[in-house]
Symmetry: C2
Subunit: 343 residues, 2 copies
DNA sequence: ATGAAAGCGCTAACAA
DNA sequence: TTGTTAGCGCTTTCAT
């Protein structure tokens, strides 16, 4: 009796079950199992199990040009905003039998090009993009290549592209409302780069919220930072303080920028929230352990990732491009120690 | 003139260059390019470029049973210790033309089994394991499956397995030396789970360092925590404080445990470093921004990831199992505000 | 309901 | 040096 050496293939299963490989294939594939005699099917499944047969996804992919593989592009995994996003995506993918190809662009457009090409050549079935800027040439390429894609936490200007985002406007509005309820009337804003949809969108929401509240919109009350980093936040905060505008509260475009504010506050001997109230955005991990704990807006990043993955796979499996809709998930405003009554 | 529709294949390139597909293959593959006439090779490359030819990695993999793909298993991407590790791995992989298949086990052994099987079936060329426990049945399976693997930040008991780790003993020794230089003689230790090599190893190093320094090793001075989490750290810290042993400093098995200590300190109205000095381990992101900033041991996680990936690829490309050596990278002790003179 | 046969795109042993 | 051939393991159309 000669068991074939090496991993058993479909041929081995077929031989063991006494059927043709084609039949074995049909029997083992849930999609086509109905087209085969139930008792034969059972025999095939038994043989497969007996031999410890595992289908070879590579061979299947070559034949079907589907890989059950999804690529994800992110700018920097060590930015604490991304791990929950990746995790949410990965969770859904693995549940549905897909595998995640993760690529970290390190914020470099060239690297991003290369990585995208690599992912495309590997025939990923779709892409989750966490790197999108408002103007992003790569998106056009991806669409042209016919690959389904979903943006997370970003939207695109130029192309109508499906995206999953948090409800930023609501978060900003809640921040302003909270501050005014504490008596603040002059609220400064530290904006993120206007090259990102979040940078622009949150700034617009800030202006909108001020208008709604009948608050003053003095020049010099809103300052743009060059990047979503602590350093850029510190620079912006200094510009704000040195700009001469009066204010009793600062809203930062995200928690990283708020971190920069903390640095400047201690550098200037200012106390928070006594001298100045501070609000962040994102609720990144451990930001609640800072002194004082940061009042901020919680973005459900894991949910966003999961939703994006679900949208993408639904489209992939329906065999069509993702619907160009933007899904907005609710955010949660969380009050902590960095905001207090004006005094 | 009929350009073939769809993506150009090797046949198209061959036809364009007026050679046989086999020749085109040899010409385009750096390994075999020497076996073909330089001028023919150039013609083929020109044709490939003209057509925008991109080799199909799936077809190549089916033929060669190499995928240029590496799997990585981690327990929880949202634990800040892992992103730098993943990033280090990813960086090296993409540089060398490999792609990372990331799988987050969510600390579940069942999920881990499933994910491993999925990765193996996808014929990853090797594995980076960040989930290893001292006793870890899965490792045996992987070795039995003949897959090259490297452990990161963990070692294994049962199997001789290649690993890349930080120099933990040195880190612990430096912590103890630092504390004694500040006058501390009674130093408590909050150990991580003994199921992990780091939990056990750091504890042993602590005992060793105390012995070397001629310091007292009272019972109740070392307490084991059930997990590497903030909550477990808090529980351990309470046990320590309520245990009756006297001490002026606490060393935590890692920064997450130290975070739990912060919670208990404020809960008990204790001030750090005035009432108690505290030392962590890992130097996780933002731990320097806490109040007080944590004195800790910096583990070069990105380097560890990069080194692991390099070892793995070297082995993969040499066509043999990874050498069962353990690479130890130096750590850096960083003094911050959580340690001070005993008083 | 099953068998036969072709082929996804590539590489590699063998021949010329 | 180049061409020929076969086949990696699977799915799927076409017959039967």
């Amino acid at each position: 009796m000669s068991e074939p050496a090496g991993k058993p293939t479909l041929r081995d299963v077929a031989r063991e079950a006494g059927v043709h490989p084609g039949t074995a294939s049909r029997a083992l594939n849930p999609e086509t199992a109905s087209k085969v005699n139930p008792v034969t099917a059972k025999r095939v499944r038994k043989a497969a199990k007996a031999l410890g047969y595992r289908p070879n996804p590579i061979a299947r992919s070559l034949r079907t040009s589907r890989t059950h593989t999804i690529g994800m592009l992110i700018p920097d995994l060590t930015n604490p905003m991304f791990p929950p996003l990746v995790r949410g995506v990965d969770q859904v993918l693995s549940e549905r039998g897909y595998t995640l190809l993760l690529a970290d662009t390190d914020n470099s457009p060239q690297r991003e090009e290369r990585l995208y090409t690599a992912l495309r050549d590997r025939q990923v079935d779709g892409l989750v993009i966490g790197t999108a800027l408002l103007q992003h040439p790569l998106l056009r390429r991806i669409v042209a290549d016919g690959l389904p894609l979903v943006l997370v936490n970003r939207r695109s200007d130029e192309h109508v592209t499906p995206a999953v985002v948090g409800d930023e406007a609501s978060g900003i509005q809640q921040s302003v409302t909270h501050l005014t309820s504490l008596g603040h009337r002059r609220i400064a804003y530290l904006a993120g780069p206007r090259t990102t949809s979040t940078g622009l969108g949150r700034l617009a929401a800030y202006h909108q919220a001020l208008a709604t509240g009948g608050l003053e919109q003095a020049a010099g009350l809103a300052v743009e930072c060059g990047a979503w980093t602590e350093e850029a936040g510190a620079v912006g905060m200094r510009r704000l303080l040195d700009g001469g505008a009066e204010f009793t509260a600062v809203m930062a475009g995200n928690d990283m920028l708020a971190l920069g504010c903390y640095d400047v506050l201690s550098e200037r001997g200012l106390s928070c929230p006594d001298d100045l109230s501070l609000v962040g955005f994102n609720d990144m991990p451990f930001i609640d352990k800072f002194t004082p704990p940061l009042t901020t807006v919680h973005i459900p990043n894991a949910d966003i990732g999961a939703e994006a993955a679900t949208m993408l796979l639904d489209a992939v499996e329906a065999g069509r491009v993702t619907p160009t809709k933007v899904v907005t998930l609710p955010v949660e405003f969380v009050v902590r120690g960095s905001t207090g009554p004006v005094r």
